[in-house]
């Protein structure tokens, strides 16, 4: 069925795309081990004559690890809050009959398309007024709010699938809404919660705009902003910048290798509806 020219062309295309998607990584990783003048003296595709680790030492001796820690803190706190608020809202939308159910759900869903820029100035003003400017806490509010719509959407889908018999049985045992949520809806939504957690963790790990506007000092920068600061400070030192980039991708690449299907599924399931 698919022989000869057809699969030959396919293979060429597959290899071409392998080069297109892979070469930038090749450039990034091996340049990070070069010295600055190596870039001028030999073409980029030759491997470094001596694998220099100075760049990595410089980066790890600087603010990088602190930014990494900041990212871990902000992302974990935000994801936990998103899971809590989104699962509660999803439970209401999926399992509770109340006035304006559809209308309120539509409002949440509308949040999926809202550009962050329309909120940027007021959120900046609010943050300054609350005395949170240039703290990690400033990021959490907007991070949670902007990721709630997609999370509520995914979790509502999950909770709608819970068989009603389970809920009715619990109700007969005298369980109230909260205990149905806690003992039935949440445990049965575990795959959905995992999906939402992965999706949000990846998105927030890479978030730039709010962190750029709401923080300024190196002590409060998250990982993407650390990259930004490095490239501003060492623009001409490409090997050093490449070392920063290699280190910054490393955590996600490692997680991806360990849990490939999970990560792909999480990122796509969120994004399909995002």
């Amino acid at each position: 069925m698919r022989k000869g020219l057809h699969s030959g062309l396919g293979l060429v295309f597959a290899l071409a795309w392998l080069a297109v998607s892979g070469l930038p990584f090749y450039f990034m990783i091996q340049s990070g081990f070069k010295k600055q003048f190596d870039l001028l003296s030999a073409p980029f595709w030759t491997l470094p004559k001596q694998w220099a680790i100075e760049n990595y030492q410089t980066v790890l001796g600087g603010a990088f690890l602190h930014s990494l820690l900041n990212s871990v803190i902000v992302v974990s706190v935000s994801v936990l809050l998103i899971l809590a608020a989104a699962s509660m809202a999803a439970f209401a939308f999926a399992r509770v009959h109340f006035r304006f159910n559809r209308a309120l759900f539509a409002i949440v869903i509308a949040g999926l398309v809202i550009p962050v820029h329309v909120t940027l100035i007021p959120v900046y003003l609010l943050t300054t007024r609350m005395g949170l400017y240039d703290t990690l806490w400033a990021l959490i509010g907007p991070y949670v709010a902007f990721n709630l719509p997609i999370s509520v959407f995914i979790l509502t889908e999950f909770m709608r699938d819970i068989p009603r018999e389970l809920e009715e049985a619990a109700r007969l045992d005298g369980a109230g809404a909260f205990s149905i949520f806690w003992r039935i809806a949440l445990p049965l939504s575990k795959p959905g919660l995992a999906t939402v957690a992965i999706y949000n963790a990846v998105a927030l790990w890479n978030e730039f705009v709010f962190a750029y506007v709401l923080t300024s000092s190196p002590a409060n920068r998250t990982l993407p902003l650390a990259i930004w600061d490095y490239q501003g400070q060492y623009a001409a030192n490409i090997p050093l910048i490449m070392a920063v980039l290699s280190l910054s991708v490393l955590p996600l690449i490692l997680i991806y290798i360990v849990a490939q299907e999970r990560v792909t599924g999480g990122m796509m399931a969120g994004a399909i509806k995002g």
Binding site: W17, R99, V113, P115, L148, T195, W205, N206, A269
Partner: protein
Amino acid sequence: MRASGAAEGGAAGVARRPDRMEPQNTARTPRHAHNRAAALFLLPAFAFLGIFIVWPILMSIRLSFFDWNGISPTQTFVGLDNWRSLASDRIFWKALGNNFIVVIASIAIQMPVAMALAVLLHRGGRKFKAFKVVYFFPMLMSTVAIGTLFKAVYNVQFGAINPLLEALGLGSLAHDWLGDSRIALLSVIAVICWQFIPFYMILFLARLTGIPNELREAAAIDGATGAQLFWRVEFPMMRGIILTAMTLSLIGSLKYFDLIWVMTEGGPSRATELMATYMYKEAFSSFRVGYGSAIATAMFVVVMIMALTTMAAGRSRARTVEG
């Protein structure tokens, strides 16, 4: 458009059971109790949405009628002045135009390439497993990292593209990729495609995997070629997911900021200026907060109009198919 996304969602992990139920009122509990319970469950989410999305949007709209530098205690009400300036602001229209160029180029390049790769991976099966892993890598990088990486790749002095072209005997094609205002936007669009093609590829691949193999076998028995199999069997079943992908690409391109900001900051001479980068500069670099708010509000309106239009288009399409 969400609805069509949800309908395809099964492929990406949102399992559906046939016995699914819509929320129902159980007769034993009085109605008002449900309202109160719902309010309690919705409170945290709506608090966040209200404080960090709804209130800021209203505030941006309000600020768009004021002249304010963001620091001084006085905000001067100027009525429609900002909006009038915006309507005749060449830079804003250029930025909006650039946004639409990004939209069109993204859709025109990303969809076919992503589809071709998805079909290849699907038909190649296990043979191409290693390819798939590498193809996915760009999705693991933050946009800031991608922008920084490609700034280096495009670099005239130390970069990768120009030496590569020279080595291939195409030295005449070498350019100052980000510094030449005639091609800077194209250079940036190429990176956008690099970043997002894997995403749509996985999206299409998931849908392809979801098409029952019986259909393909039936087509094979009828002697369908590989191309016919795609155009007659697979493609018609992927219209929904393609529409979803195009909508995502459209909305995403209108909101674009990070990559452009890292690579060019909208330059050279506004060649890559987008609504979001222009808004940022006006509000946070030139301290024209009122005007920046007008740009932000305009951007919001454009995105909402496009979202509602595609949603309506998606619905009427669904109706045509059903009817």
